[in-house]
């Protein structure tokens, strides 16, 4: 994944710093609190939400189970409709393919639609090394790019910034990359949006190459789907001559009809809207004829980059069902307090805690600590529109980490303990759970802990946590 995140501290250290940042916590509390309530209302409008969720899960599972077949079918249909399909085994190959395609056009700049896949592979940095400038056009991505910042949320990468900070970034930095911010810019969201409109319009009108991701790819028809709000996606997908879409192999859906499920689930889960303002669907190229439309050249880069490793894990593979809606971030008590940067990956929050260690492995202290970045409260599973059992995968990955070198287990366990000890509510819950299950506790630890109990008795858990006893008798 992106080199931007290399060398970052493990989750507990990063989270410990983040929770001290009052402004960050206030920004996150405000934003996630707002969206939580709205999402619940949007979901409650659909009496068949549970059935849609079950269908989405089944479609994704069926697709993953025959992924080779659906990708080949997609390739056939994209090609038949005038597109070109490329396959990238890893980030380096994907960057090489995209850089080569941009170079072949002779252009030195590209406009970009927000895309998790291109962030994951560090495409902007790779293009910059090749002398190609990539302009992010999503408002939040623009804020991150202008502020030399890192994204902290899947849907709203600048969620850690409030309107005042955004105003300052625009006023200070827009002039360096093009049209400056208007004189006297205030922190009114409408004015900030207007500043972005003016700044980016000249770039849209002159851009010859665009890079995008996609939310869905339909194997049956070769259609790609991009779901967005602002219209920057439409600009990138229709105005330039060449369009390059970099998409993870797990984004394929078998049939056109499957969209009836996902176009109901995604907007309500992501932005709590019945439908997002703009959805673009295209199949190959549509540029022929006097009223031909959109790019003359379309390239689809299918990205593996660790996804097949995830697929090989029967428990972990459900993470590949993810449609990147961010609902799990918005309900997560750990995310709300620690913020997205602490996860050290473009995929923060609960989904990041299970996706990043599977995509990157658990070799670094950061990646090994991510499965512990959770209180296992289960709110993420409850809101997930494709029913990813995130707590199940977290526990599974903790086992994987624990099966690694013992020192790493000790470090991760200590880190988790430190985190829990810093959070009295979590500690209380853990103590009560331990007390309630005490007759199930073994005398010796199973698995990697066995060596430790070879020479020691495992201490008995008291029937009642001390703090409860204290409260009852002295409180």
């Amino acid at each position: 994944m992106s080199g931007t995140f290399l060398g970052l501290p493990a989750f507990p250290e990063a989270a410990a710093a983040a929770v001290q940042d009052e402004r960050l916590r206030a920004n996150l509390r405000h934003a996630t609190g707002t969206i939580r309530a709205k999402r619940a209302r949007a979901v409650a409008e659909l009496a068949d939400w549970a059935e849609l969720r079950a269908a989405a899960k089944a479609v994704k599972d069926r697709t993953l189970d025959r992924l080779d077949h659906y990708l080949v079918r997609l390739e056939q249909n994209v090609t038949a409709a005038g597109g070109q399909v490329h396959w990238a085994a890893d980030a380096e190959e994907a960057n090489r393919i995209v850089t080569g395609l941009v170079r072949a056009t002779g252009e030195r700049e590209v406009v970009k639609v927000k895309s998790m896949a291109t962030q994951e592979i560090g495409l902007n940095e790779a293009l910059a090394e090749a002398g190609i400038r990539a302009y992010e056009t999503d408002l939040a991505e623009l804020i991150v790019q202008l502020g030399n910042d890192r994204p902290s949320h899947i849907l709203v990468p600048a969620i850690h910034r409030n309107r005042g900070e955004i105003r300052d970034i625009f006023a200070d930095r827009m002039a360096d990359l093009g049209r400056p911010a208007p004189e006297g810019l205030t922190d009114e969201p409408a004015e900030l949006a207007e500043a972005a409109r003016l700044h980016l319009r000249e770039k849209f009108l002159r851009a010859k190459v665009a890079v995008s991701g996609a939310n869905f790819m339909i194997a049956e028809t070769g259609t790609l789907v991009v779901v967005e709000s602002e219209g920057n996606g439409r600009m990138c997908l229709t105005l330039p001559r060449t369009l390059i879409s970099v998409v993870g192999i797990e984004k394929v859906l078998p049939t056109w009809r499957d969209l009836e499920i996902f176009l109901q689930l995604l907007p309500r889960s992501a932005t709590a809207e019945r439908m997002n303002p703009y959805t673009s669907l295209w199949t190959g190229t549509h540029a022929d004829g006097p009223d031909g439309d959109g790019p003359e050249e379309f390239h689809l880069v299918l990205l593996d980059n660790g996804r097949t490793d995830v697929l090989a894990d029967r428990t972990g593979r459900q993470a590949l069902r993810c449609i990147r809606c961010s609902a799990c971030l918005n309900v997560c008590p750990v995310y709300e307090r620690a913020g997205g940067h602490a996860y050290g990956s473009v995929y923060p929050g609960p989904i990041g805690a299970i996706l990043t260690p599977q995509l990157r492995g658990t070799e670094t202290p950061l990646d090994a600590s991510l499965p512990y970045a959770s209180s296992l409260c289960g709110a993420c599973y409850e809101v997930c529109p494709v029913a990813i059992d995130i707590p199940e995968v977290l526990v599974h990955l903790r086992e994987r980490v624990a099966d690694g070198p013992r020192h790493r287990l000790a470090r991760a366990a200590a880190a988790a303990a430190a985190y829990v000890l810093d959070h009295p509510g979590l500690l209380r819950a853990a103590e009560r759970a331990a007390a309630r299950t005490r007759r199930l506790h073994p005398r010796r630890l199973p698995g990697p802990g066995r060596a430790w109990t070879d020479t020691r008795e495992l201490p008995a858990v008291p029937p009642e946590p001390f703090r409860d006893w204290w409260r009852r008798n002295r409180g």
Partner: protein, 234 residues
């Protein structure tokens, strides 16, 4: 890139990794009964969700629901009869102060009968309506392929009276005419079978908006900041 596959890159490598991860040599014939582009095997997916959340056979109720949902996402909604349509369109453009309006091929001529703004077409005397040229055009007038009542969505598919995708993107003011009951469907599941995947589509639900500042929706970024919808009851 893989020299064996000048554009394909690591095609075989990725496919073999997938097969290894799934624990089998390759997709078996039983896994792909369609064997090409026939209907996909749908047996494993429970589709017991609703086809629509409101009765699909009550056109007046659907039109009202569409109206409410469009308004909810800040579209300006007008209603009229077919006979009133030309004057209404003319009045909307006048009220906006539009001097120029882009029109797609195949737009019913009656729709522009009372338009005082200069109507610009792609094959008109001023040359093609490029993005740069459209950037200076005040308004655009189109029809649509269909509208979805439950979500307040207009679907454009570049068909007659709709034109290229950039037409409804670059000007800041879009007037879209929806003919009821013929073009109004209840729900997303009822919309998709009526749409042709081979056509480029834009689904529009309200004017351009963003939730990127503190996760609060603000109207107006890159697409038309004013969306006016005319619901015509045939």
């Amino acid at each position: 890139m893989n020299p064996d596959s000048p554009t394909g890159g690591s095609r075989e490598l990725v496919l073999s990794r997938i097969r290894a991860a799934l624990g089998r040599a390759a997709t078996t014939p039983a896994d792909r009964p369609e064997d090409g582009n026939g209907p996909a095997d749908d047996s494993a997916v429970p589709r017991d969700y609703l086809r629509s959340h409101v009765p699909a056979d009550d056109p007046d109720a659907l039109l009202d629901l569409l109206h409410r949902n469009l308004v909810d996402y800040r579209a300006l909604v007008h209603r009229c009869t077919p006979a009133e349509l030309p004057d209404l369109i003319g009045a909307l453009l006048d009220a906006r102060g539009a001097r120029t309006v882009a029109v797609p091929p195949g737009l019913p001529p009656a729709w522009t009968a009372a338009v005082r703004a200069e109507a610009l077409a792609n094959d008109g005397p001023g040359g093609p309506l490029t993005a740069a040229r459209l950037d200076g055009v005040d308004s655009v007038l189109t029809g649509c392929a269909l509208a979805i009542a439950e979500t307040g969505t207009l679907v454009l598919d570049a068909g007659p009276g709709q034109g290229r995708r950039l037409l409804t993107l670059v000007p800041d003011h879009h007037i879209c005419v929806v003919r009821a009951p013929g073009q109004v469907v209840a729900s997303v599941p009822l919309a998709l079978p009526r749409l042709d995947p081979a056509r480029p589509q834009t689904w529009i639900s309200g004017p351009s908006a963003t939730s990127d500042i503190e996760l609060t929706r603000v109207e107006g970024v890159h697409g038309p900041r004013t969306l006016e919808v005319v619901l015509v009851r045939d």
